[in-house]
Every structure is written in C-alpha cells, then in structure tokens.
C-alpha cells in the first residue's frame, strides 16, 4: 500500500532532518515522560480512528488544533503534523478528496470539508516555513512535499493540476518560500533535495516562480530576492542531451513525444521566462550582483531565443558602473563571443571602467583577466590599446603592488603584440612625432618650454586620447618602487624584449598579504646576516633645542599617532 511506504519514508526523512525528535517516536521512545507518551498514543489513536471511517473525520480538527499550538508544545505539534500528513496522504491516495460525478450531496459536502481542512493544514505548515528553528522549517518542508507528492500522484490530469494551479499545495509552498525573506535554509533545502533531484519539480518550480512573480500583489523586492535565492540553489541547467529521468510524482509522465516535461525546448522556455520575469521586476543592488554572478553559469545557457532581453539587462547593469559593471562584463563577454552579440561602444565603456578604485577593488584579478582577453587581439587599433596602457600606467602611480605586478607584464605583452606601442617606451627625436611638433609650436628650440603630455586623462573615447603619442613615464618611475620585486619587475620594460610573452595568469593573484607573507615566511638567512645601519644616531625622536630636548619631526608624528590610538 503506498500510504504505508509513504509513512515509512517520511519517518526516515524526518529522522535525518531532525534527529532530536527521534526520541518522540512511538517505536523508540523509552525515555519519554508519561504525559508525552500519553499525547503520543493519543495522537496515534486519533490518527488510526480517522483512517477507520468517515465518522471520525472530526479528529482532524483536533489534530489541527494541536498543530497550531506549536509555540507551546512543539513536540506534540510536530507529531500531530506528521500524523495529519499521513492521514491526508492516505485520504488523497484513497481519492477521498475527489468529488465524483455520482456523489451525493452529503458526500460532496464531506469532500468539500476535507478539502478545507487540507487547505488549513497546509496553511498551518506554511507558517512554519521561515521560522528561525531549522528543524521546524525542515519538517514542514518535508511534510508539504509529501502532500505535494500525494497530490501529484493521482493520474496525469489531476497531477498536472496539482502542479500548476495556484490553489495547489506546491504553488503555495513556492509562494511561501519566495515571500519569507528569512527562509534561506528552506530554500536551500528545497533546491538541493527536490529541485536538483527531480526533473519535474525543477520544471514546475520555474513555472511556479514565474507565476508568483506575476501574481504577487506588490512586486516587492523581497519576493524577487527570494526567487533569486531559490533559483541560485538549483543546479546548473541541463545541456543539449537533456534526458529527464527522475520524477517526483509517482506516476511518471508517459514517454509521449508531446509531453512538455520531456523536451528541452519547453524546459528552456520555462526557465527563460522565469528569469525574464525576474529581470523585469525591481531589483536591489545586491540582487543584481547575485544575478550577475549567476549569469554565465545559470542563466545564459537557458537563453536561446530572446537574447536581446538578457542583453538589455546586462547592458543596464554594465552601465550602472562600479562593481556591477565588472560583474556584467563577464556575461557580456560571453554573449559577444558565443552568441554573436553586437555591443556598440564596448571599448569606450570598458575604458571608462578604468578608474582609481578598480586597482584597489577586490574584483581586480577578475577584471584583469577579462581585460587581457579583450585587448589580446592584434587587430585592435594601436591607439586604443595605447590608451588602455597609458591609463593603467597613470593609475598605477597610486596602485598597490599587486596591481602593478600585473600591469607591467601586461604592458610588455601589449608592446610585443603591437610594435607601434614601442614608441611609448622609446621615442628618439624625430620631428614627425606629435610630441615634438607640439613642443616646437609652443616654443622655439633655443628655449624649450618643456613637453606637454599629449595624453588626455579626461577624454573618454579611447581612440582619441592621444596616448599613442605619449610616453610611459609612470612605469619608468615605478622602476624605483619601494618593493624590490616590483621594482625589478618594472625594469623589464627597459630591457631587451627577448621573451615572447609573459604568462599573465602567474601575476594575477598577488596582494599585500602574499607579499608580506612571502617576506616574513622566509627565515633570516644566517649567511648574509642582517645589515645594520653603521652609525647609531644620537637622537631618533628627539632633538636638542635651547632648553633641553624637544620632539623632532618623527617624534611629533609618533606622539600624535600614539595619542589617538
């Protein structure tokens, strides 16, 4: 009998999820108190009675009242809920909740009443979702999914209804999952245990999420956040050889060719529409960030037809600036390379991303990695690449060593692939060079006024910044960087370019932490010893003044700093 098996399964599942409730199980509850035992037996008794016949249906009400008193008696409530779940599953399996055509008025009334109870029961359970107690949340989720299973296992037509209609348990569950902001645990559990495992659950989840977004009265940001959260917990979408195999509902869909569950196209369509629904709804910055991080792995593969809508979303994010741009960059790149997206003014936009903060951002290495890809092509105009080079060089004057360490070999590679950039490093005097002609305009040769840097930092179009006529004084200055390794690295620009190219990946993930860790990780070498300043200064923080001693510059700074610590 399916009901029995179901119960066993529920128990097992529950044991896994809420081990602390094991003790309350009737079968292995040797230590429970007498009162506890009595309620347990009572619940079991009630449950059995219900199953015996229609006359005991009122017990349901009693059990429900127990369920509702979770705050005071959690254990009893849980037991009652489990019992009720069993009851309803059996009733559904016995088709007690179905109004048959030949039913009498009385019967119809009973069915209606039962349906009402079920609805109430589900509502009660839904209130548990999002509660701070993980065990309670998990129990309710499990029980609800049992009900869903029972509902969706009664013939193809009614199952379909149970999946899709807004009054169904499944839909309500999804709605609750999305609406409760603090139901992260439940969402994660749902994603991992059900959506990832069962193909039909995943499919209908997409549908339900879309519907919730559509029907929810206020397009509240919480719901969207919940939706993003829920969908992010689902595993990445299937690829072309999509073969749905695992079904949650007991009656697996027939292998009829027109079954929507079996075709990849329908699946994709569902997912795509859901995502689009999310894009259309108002998004907070955090949600946007989450979406963008998901974009390449979760969202993009689902989009096969209406790419422009996705592109719009990405473009919006890209234009938003800051970290959002960085995150959107990856997906846009994916679209450009894989889906042949035409992105006008891409390099201008990319160029505008290079500001002071990017070198200090925590997404620095991610950005650098992409930047290298974008600018690797040898077919790009040299002036454009020169603008990027010059701008990064300018920014590196205030950059941390970790960024400089990447910029220098990157510039090396750029010069290698665009030989005309060599002038940035070596520009012998020639009147044809703009930098010299500009000089001769401003002053005569006899009294040189000095060279004006042709590079315009404020120009936003990378093609017209004039960087190609400039010189990389900044990187030359960095050859005397305080960190010995950085300084040595910067010197490669002044040496012969014998190496074909540097593997930039090796330079990406350096930070202060790695530099300091590396230096302090080394032991003081015994052979070389430690150099010590040979002269011992008479005064360090003090200096002699007319009367006694006074603090000198360092001393003043030091006392100032110590004073505020």
């Amino acid at each position: 009998m399916p009901g029995m098996i179901t119960n066993g399964a529920v128990r097992k599942r529950k044991r896994d999820d809420a081990p602390k409730m094991d003790g309350s199980k009737p079968r292995k509850a040797p230590k429970t108190t007498s009162t506890g035992q009595s309620t347990q037996t009572r619940i079991l008794h009630l449950e059995e009675q219900i199953l015996q016949g229609r006359e005991h249906y009122n017990n349901i009400v009693e059990l429900q009242s127990l369920v509702q008193r979770y705050e005071t008696k959690p254990r009893t409530a849980t037991l009652a809920a489990v019992g009720l779940c069993r009851v309803f599953c059996r009733l559904i399996a016995a088709e007690a909740l179905v109004k048959t055509g030949s039913a009498t008025d009385e019967e119809a009334q009973v069915v209606r009443w039962l349906k009402g109870r079920l609805r109430e029961y589900v509502e009660d359970l839904l209130t548990w979702i999002g509660s701070p107690e993980a065990a309670q949340e998990s129990t309710s989720l499990t029980l609800l999914m049992r009900i869903v299973k029972a509902e969706t296992s009664q013939g193809s037509k009614r199952s379909e209804q149970a999946w899709r209609t807004e009054t169904s348990t499944f839909f309500k569950l999804i709605q609750a999952l999305l609406e409760r902001t603090d139901a992260e645990g439940a969402r994660q559990e749902f994603g991992e245990k059900y959506a990832d495992e069962y193909d039909d659950v995943r499919f209908y989840t997409f549908l339900a999420v879309k519907q919730v977004l559509k029907t929810s009265p206020a397009h509240s940001e919480e719901i969207v956040g919940g939706a993003v959260d829920l969908l992010s917990h689902m595993e990445s979408p299937p690829d072309s050889d999509y073969q749905p195999q695992t079904w949650y509902s007991a009656d697996a869909p027939s292998s009829a060719p027109n079954n929507p569950l079996l075709s990849l196209a329908t699946y994709r369509k569902a997912a795509q529409e859901t995502w689009l629904a999310i894009f259309r709804s108002p998004l907070t910055k955090d949600n946007r960030k989450r979406l963008l991080t998901l974009a390449t792995s979760q969202i993009l593969p689902n989009f096969s037809t209406r790419l422009e809508l996705l592109a719009d979303f990405l473009t919006d994010s890209f234009n938003a600036g800051g970290n959002l741009s960085l995150l959107a960059l990856n997906s846009i790149f994916h679209l450009i390379t894989h889906q042949n997206l035409d992105y006008p003014e891409f390099y201008t936009k990319l160029y505008s991303l290079l500001d002071e903060d990017i070198l200090h951002s925590k997404h620095r290495s991610r950005f650098f990695r992409l930047l290298e890809v974008f600018l690797r092509s040898e077919h790009l105009p040299a002036a454009l690449v020169a603008s990027f080079v010059k701008r990064l060089a300018r920014l590196s004057l205030q950059a941390p060593p970790g960024a400089i360490v990447w910029i220098v070999p990157w510039v090396y590679n750029c010069v290698k692939s665009h030989p005309s950039l060599g002038f940035l490093l070596h520009r012998p005097h020639h009147p044809a060079h703009r930098i010299y002609s500009a000089q001769s305009e401003t002053g005569s040769d006899s009294a040189p006024i000095g060279l004006k840097d042709p590079f315009d930092m404020l120009e936003s179009n990378p093609n017209t910044t004039g960087a190609i006529d400039s010189s990389l004084w900044e990187l030359e200055t960095l050859q005397s960087h305080y960190h010995p390794n950085v300084a040595t690295l910067a010197k490669i620009l002044g040496e012969q370019f014998t190496k074909r190219e540097y593997v930039l990946e090796d330079f990406l993930d350096h930070s202060y932490a790695s530099l300091v860790g590396q230096e302090l990780g080394m032991e003081v070498s015994g052979k070389k010893g430690v150099e010590v300043e040979w002269a011992i200064p008479k005064r360090i923080v003090m200096e002699e003044a007319e009367e006694g001693l006074e603090l000198n510059g360092v001393g003043r700074l030091l006392t100032g700093a110590l004073g505020v610590m």
Binding site: E474, H483, D506, L515, Q518, V524, K527, T559, G560, V564
Partner: protein, 871 residues
C-alpha cells in the same frame, strides 16, 4: 680516309721534340732539347694517352651531376681535382700483383711441409737473377761489417750469424709463437682457407719490413752496457749533490761558530726559542761516507718516517709561526691626520657599500653566492627562451620573486614555505657552516675578517661605540654612562639601583626587574646588564645577551603600549641598535615577529607598539637597501595600511586616528626613502585622499599641517622622477581648496613642477644594441660542398666518416676477393689446359713411342706384322 697512325705518331713525336731530325754536333751541344727526363716522360705519356683514348676512363663517362649534388664533375681543386682513371693500367697492375703473391700461394695450396725459399729475391718475378745476386751480396756485406771479433757487438746479435728458423731470428719466432698461442689459431690455420694464409703472408711481409728497419740503425748498445752507464751517471750526480751540500754545511758551521757572540744579544729581547725546534748537534752519520751533518728531519725522513706525517708536522709548525703574535709588528700610534684620513676612508667605504646595497647589488663578500644565483636565473631564462615564450615550465612571476599565487596557503603553511625557500639554497653546501660562523662572538668574526682593512676599522669603531654603552659600568661603578644633559637625572636616581641583576632572558623576566623601578632608570639597567653579561666575560653570556636583546625588542613595544616616555624608548632603541651589531639575527627576528603579529592581526591595524617598532626599524636598519629582511616587510605593511585606510573620495569626515597614524606612516615612508628615493604609491594616494577629504569637510586642524609637511617632503624627494607631474599635479586643485594654510605647499609644488615639465623628455629606454639573430645549424658556408658533411657535432661526424670508410673498405675487399677468385679460376683453367695439353702431348708421344716400338720390334718381322695385320 683517316691518316695513317704511324704518320700521326711520328708528327706528334716530332712536335714534342722527342725525336728530332738529326742535328749537328754544335747544335746538339748548345740546344738543351729535352734535358729533363721527367718532362720527356710526361710528354711521352701524353702522346700515348692521345693515341689510346680507350685506355682512359674520363669522368664524363657518366652523365654529369648537378653541382648542388656533387662537386666532382666540375673542375675542382685539391682533393677534388679531376682525376684521370686508367682502368687498363690499374687492371694490369692488379694482375701483376696477383701473379706475384697469389699465384705462388695458390701453387702451394693443399701442400704440407716442403721448403720455402726465403732467400732474397727468390720468387720475385720482378727481379733478374743478377739483381738478386747483387742484393744478396750487399746484405751479406752489411751483416759482416761489425766483424765477428767486434767487442762492441752484443752476444746475441752476431750480425746475420744468429740462429734462425724459417729465415727469421729466434726472437721473432718466439713472438710469433706467443701470438699464435694467444689466439689459438693453430687449429684454425688448418681449415681456414685462403684468406688466413693471405693474412699470414701479409704478416710475413711486415716482418720483413721490420727486419729491414732493425738492420738500419748502427750497432746497438747491449743492455748491460746501458745499465752500467746509467749507474755511473747517477753516481756522478749523487757525488755532485753531496759536494754542494758539504759546502753548505761548511758555511753553516762557520755561521754557527759565530752564534755564541750573537746569542746574548738575542736573549736580552726574546724568550728562548720553543723547545719543539731544538738546535741539536747531530751525531755524525757514519753511514754517510762524506761525514757531513744532516738535518734531523731529513735524517728521519731517510730513516723511513712517513712522508705524510712529515708534511703535517711542517704545516703545523708553519702555522704556529704565522700565528705567533710576536710575528706581527706592533702598531705604531697614528697621527691625528692619519686617523682623520682613515676615518674618511672608512666612511667612504661604508657609503659605497650602502649605495651598492641600495642598487640591489651584492656587497663584496657575498659576490660568490650572487654569482651562483645569477647562474640560476640564467638557467631559468634559458629555459624560457628555449621554449619560445609560451611554454615555460616555470612560473613567470616567480622569476621576479613573486611566489606563486596561493596567498592564504602561503600564510597557513608557512612551515612548508620555509622549506621551499630553503631548497633554493640547497646548492650552497657550506651554508650550515657559515651559519654557525655567524653565531660566533664578534671577536672571533672580527679576527676572521681581519684581512679586510675596512672591517678592522669598523670593528674598532664598534668597539668605541660599545664603550659608550657599556663602559660606564665596566670602568667605574657609578660613572656617568652617557654625558648627555638629559641623562643626568637618570644617573642621579640610580643610587637606588642594584648593581647586579640576573640576566633577563625573556620579556617576562625583564618586566619583573623593571616593573618596580621608575621608567627613567631603564637605560641604566640595560647598561648594567650589558656590562655584567658582556660576551667577553663568559662564553654563556653570548646566548644570554641574544635572548636579552629579544626581550628588549618586546619591551620596546610594551613601553609604547603603556605610554612610557619617548626619550626612554629612544635610549632603548639606541641600545638595541648597538646590540644589533652583535646580535643582528635575533633582534631582526624579534622585529619580524612583531611585524608578523601586526600582519596577522584581523583588520591589519597596528598597535601602539607597532608604531614604535616601525620607528625603531627605521633608525636601526639601513632603509635604503634594495631588499632588507626587516625593512622591506615593514614598508610593505605600511603600504598596505595606507592603501586600505585611504579615505574614499566621498568621505564626509576625517577619522582623526586614521589621519594621525597615516601621517606618521607617510612620514616614516618618506624618511626611509630619503637616500634611495624610491616611490611609495600608497603614501601619495593616502595623502591625496586625506587632503581632499579635509578640503571638503573643512576640518582645519593641526593634522593638515602634518600632511602638508609630508606632501612637501614627498615632492622634494621625488622631484627627479619622470612622472613627477603625474604624481603631484592632482594635488594642486586640492591645495587651492584648502585655502591659506596650504599656500606655501602649493607654491612649493608649483615651483617644482615647472622645471620638471621643462626637463622631461620622451622615454628612451631601448637604446640597446640590436640583438644578433640566433644562428643555428646549418650555418651558411662559403663554397658549400654537398659532398662534405658540415655536422657541428664532432662525434657524430666522426662516426659517419668511420662508417663510410668501413663501407668503402668492405666494398673494396669484396671486389678484390672477387678479382682474386677470377684470377684463381683463370689460373686453374690455364694450368688445367697446360696439364691437358701436356697429357695429350705425352699421350701422343707414348702412342708414338709405342707405335715406334712396335714398329721397331717388327723390325725383323715388320713385314710379318704388317702381313698379319693385313690378314
């Protein structure tokens, strides 16, 4: 109709002047004609060749090859000159040769025993009987020349009269036997075919040649004679040596005789010489017939002492002498001028070393190691070049000292990392030894380094300075240690201090001593402890002091945490500095521990102690070094703090703590780079941001002054940098916003920017010599010859040459064998024919004889027989 050959020959001969029309006597006398027979011969040969064109095989007999394939068909030179082949001539020569050697052998085949005629010229068909006779005669004469009664001649070599066997002397025969037995060729000889015999034949010929060679040089001396000569010579030499030695001894004796007069003079100044080198009067060596005196050591050596032992003794004594303090001349007192000069030189040298370190070069004593590392780097680069850029095995970043990425892993598994780092120096075998050397006390190391004059001076200087810190106590109990006015108070109070303390070996121990006493006393206490446990007093003190220095570093941070007065901290720093001379490594490690603690503190905020530690580092260590074990991490940590704590552009208020700490850090950065003028981007950024924030929020305070001061210092420091404009231009609008307080700084910046703009020129970084193209095999050859091998690998080309030679020889041998076979067959056929012809002849003769006999017997009854026959 072709002209007659005879006529043509005649004309040709006449043309060449070989046959001339008969000339008159005078003409014959005056005209030289063909004086040179060689010319004549060549002329004749030419004519012969012309008339027998088929005798010559021209190179053009085969179709011409392209010059790219072979150079032979064109008229080459030298080795590749055109060669005229005469197949007919070489064929007949080969035939002759075979007839000469092969034929007799063939005839002797399958025959055992018999007599081999080894007389000169026997079997040589090229010799006439007369020639043979002449040869034999001369040989005989030659052998006799010594004469039978010649005493010089040795016993065993009586000309040709020695015992011979098979035409060879017994000696040679013995050799042969040895050879034979060695190879075990006795049995082989029998069944081995023709070739083996041929080989033997060759050997025999060789022997003949040897014999001829032996006969050539004039009479040899006998072995005995030679030995006697050698003995005589050596005796003569020995005698001469002894003679010289005797003379020397006489001279020494004479000197020794005068020694008695000298000794009193020497004794007045010196202790008697060590007993290990006694001047003993040796007993006369009776064995020495010359009766001369001998050095005892030498005598011992002669008596059979171990040579190695003697060497060791010698070395030992030499070392003793060298290390004898008296061996050194005492130093004279230097004049003031000399001292000043030395001091100046010392300073100059120190400065040189410093700037070398600043440039990242290795100072002199580390050069060897540096070379080792250089090689390593080159290796790495070589790898990179070999693989053409993309396929290097190593990490690009690692070349520049950036360990590969795993940052967290690096921190977490520092132990492992250490191990890896040590691996780098694994090749340095003497690392361990040198490490222990460094642990030696300063005195010892000074003695070791004494060869470098600068080091001595430095050591002296150190000694002087150490006196300043220590001597106060060592000299007199309560003398003023430092004659600074500030310290008078300290000394005044020191009456309450104890004079001896247990040496504190941890910070806790130090605290237990110091805590109860007033802070001002601390320098005095340190001074006393340093004096009490001066390493020169006891060997154990060294370790104690090194622990004490660690504790002192901890205490420095502790003092800052507890807001103890800075002047005292300053004194502690100076003590640490002076201690660093001796205990550099422990103190550096202690500082690094503090830095590490700061680095690992969540948030990366420095404590008060860290700030003082930073100040101390800046004072104790040379901050201008390219890399320094303490300074570099400290700067990086400051950079990190500045980068993290720079206020964001939109900040609405200035955190005072941030501002003050930042000001200190920027100030320290600037001061540390005072000499090396390295750029610190984070300091620029921090100052820029903080000034901008101040300008926006209008929080005018003393901090602005600090930051402006820092800004001016930075500008002054980096005014020569090419990117000066780029660095400092952004400050100008901010300074304008700041108002009147910033006017001086703004003006200063503007004045500095002007010249910087004027002097700036586009970069010229690549004034390198153009790189030569990589040359690789095959390189271009002038006059390339396709037949020659231009393999640069000598071994391979040699092997190829050898292989080719073997091949050619093999082919030649096969051809020869085939020709031999043909010859043998031909000869056999000829013999058979001869035999057959002989047989037929004999048979005929016999038949004829018989017939005749028959006829004769029928002489009487001839008719009867005939009649019978007819019947």
């Amino acid at each position: 109709m072709p002209p007659s050959q005879l006529k043509a020959l005649k004309t040709r001969l006449r043309e060449k002047g070989i046959t001339a029309p008969s000339k008159s006597k005078t003409q014959r006398k005056s005209g030289s004609g063909h004086a040179n027979p060689k010319d004549r011969h060549t002329a004749l040969q030419q004519i012969r060749d012309d008339f027998n064109p088929s005798e010559l095989r021209h190179v053009s007999a085969r179709p011409a090859k392209f010059p790219s394939t072979s150079i032979y068909n064109s008229t080459g030179s030298g080795k590749y000159a055109k060669i005229l082949h005469r197949p007919g001539v070489s064929k007949s020569a080969g035939e002759d040769m075979r007839r000469q050697h092969l034929l007799p052998e063939m005839r002797r085949r399958n025959k055992t025993g018999g007599l081999i005629d080894r007389r000169i010229g026997e079997g040589d068909e090229g010799m006439t009987a007369e020639q043979r006779a002449v040869m034999r005669f001369t040989k005989e004469k030659e052998g006799r020349r010594g004469g039978v009664f010649d005493l010089e001649g040795s016993d065993d070599e009586g000309g040709l009269m020695g015992l011979t066997h098979g035409g060879r002397t017994i000696d040679e025969l013995e050799d042969d036997d040895m050879k034979g037995s060695g190879k075990g060729s006795e049995s082989e000889d029998e069944d081995a075919g023709f070739l083996v015999k041929k080989r033997r034949r060759d050997e025999e010929e060789d022997d003949d040649v040897e014999e001829a060679d032996e006969g050539q040089p004039d009479v040899k001396k006998s072995k005995k004679e030679v030995m006697q000569e050698v003995i005589a010579k050596s005796k003569l030499h020995k005698y001469e040596r002894q003679k010289v030695k005797e003379d020397d001894e006489d001279l020494i004796d004479k000197l020794d005789a005068g020694m008695a007069d000298l000794l009193p003079l020497l004794r007045s100044q010196q202790a008697p010489p060590p007993p290990s080198a006694p001047i003993e009067i040796q007993p006369r060596n009776t064995a020495n017939e010359a009766g001369m005196k001998m050095d005892p050591e030498r005598q011992k050596l002669l008596d059979g002492m171990d040579r190695a032992q003697a060497d060791k003794d010698y070395e030992k004594r030499l070392r003793e002498l060298a290390q004898d303090t008296r061996a050194k001349p005492s130093e004279r007192t230097k004049t003031a001028e000399e001292r000043a000069k030395e001091e100046a030189e010392r300073l100059k040298m120190l400065e040189e070393r410093r700037s070398k370190r600043m440039r990242g070069e290795q100072v002199a004593d580390d050069e060897e190691e540096e070379q080792g590392r250089d090689v390593d780097v080159e290796d790495v680069e070589e790898n990179a070049v070999d693989a053409l850029g993309n396929e290097e095995v190593g990490d690009d970043a690692e070349e520049f000292g950036f360990a590969s990425a795993g940052v967290e892993a690096m921190q977490k598994t520092r132990e492992k990392v250490r191990h890896v780092d040590e691996d780098e120096f694994d090749f340095d075998a003497d690392l361990v030894a040198s490490a222990s050397e460094a642990e030696l006390s300063d005195q010892e190391s000074e003695a070791d380094d004494a060869s470098v004059p600068g080091e001595i001076m430095e050591a002296e200087q150190e000694q002087d300075e150490e006196d300043e810190f220590v001597n106060g106590i060592l000299g007199g109990a309560n003398a003023t240690p430092i004659t600074d006015s500030s310290n008078t108070t300290i000394v005044d109070g020191s009456g309450a201090l104890a004079f001896t303390y247990p040496c504190p070996r941890s910070h806790a121990e130090l605290l237990s001593i110091v805590d109860t006493l007033p802070v001002q006393q601390l320098p005095t206490i340190i001074q006393r402890i340093r004096a009490l446990y001066h390493p020169s007093l006891s060997a154990a003190n060294k370790e104690m002091m090194s622990d004490f220095s660690r504790a002192l570093v901890d205490h420095l941070a502790y003092m800052a945490e507890h807001n103890q007065p800075l002047p005292v901290a300053e004194q502690v720093i100076r003590h640490l500095h002076s201690l660093s001379r001796t205990y550099a490594i422990p103190i550096a490690e202690a500082f690094r521990t503090h830095l590490l603690a700061w680095h690992e503190r969540p948030g990366g905020e420095p404590s008060k102690g860290d700030l003082v530690v930073l100040t101390a580092i800046g004072s104790i260590y040379p901050t201008s070094d390219h890399f320094h074990q303490v300074v570099t991490p400290a700067t990086t940590l400051m950079g990190r703090w500045l980068a993290v704590n720079a206020p964001s552009p939109g900040a609405k208020m200035v955190d005072e703590r941030r501002s003050r700490v930042g000001a200190l850090m920027v100030g320290l950065c600037v001061r540390w780079q005072a000499l090396s003028k390295r750029i610190v981007p984070e300091a620029v950024r921090f100052t820029l941001r903080i000034l901008a924030t101040i300008a926006v929020t209008r929080t005018s305070s003393t901090e602005v002054a600090e930051h402006l001061e820092n800004l001016t210092a930075m500008a002054e420091l980096w005014k020569d940098k090419t990117a000066f404009i780029e660095i400092f231009q952004p400050f100008l609008p901010i300074l304008r916003n700041l108002g009147s307080t910033a006017t001086p700084a703004s003006e200063h910046l503007t004045t500095l920017l002007g010249p910087s703009r004027q002097t700036r020129r586009p970069l010229l970084l690549h004034n390198h010599r153009p790189q030569p193209l990589r040359t690789s095999n095959p390189k271009f050859e002038e006059g390339f010859n396709p037949d020659k091998h231009y393999d640069p690998d000598r071994e391979r080309s040699d092997a190829a040459k050898l292989r080719k030679e073997v091949n050619r020889e093999k082919k030649g041998a096969v051809r020869e064998l085939r020709k031999d076979g043909a010859f043998v067959a031909r000869e056999e056929l000829r013999e058979k024919r001869e035999r057959d012809a002989d047989f037929v002849k004999r048979e005929r003769r016999l038949v004829a004889e018989i017939a005749q006999e028959g006829r004769e017997s029928q002489g009487g009854g001839g008719g009867r027989a005939r009649g019978k026959g007819r019947r």
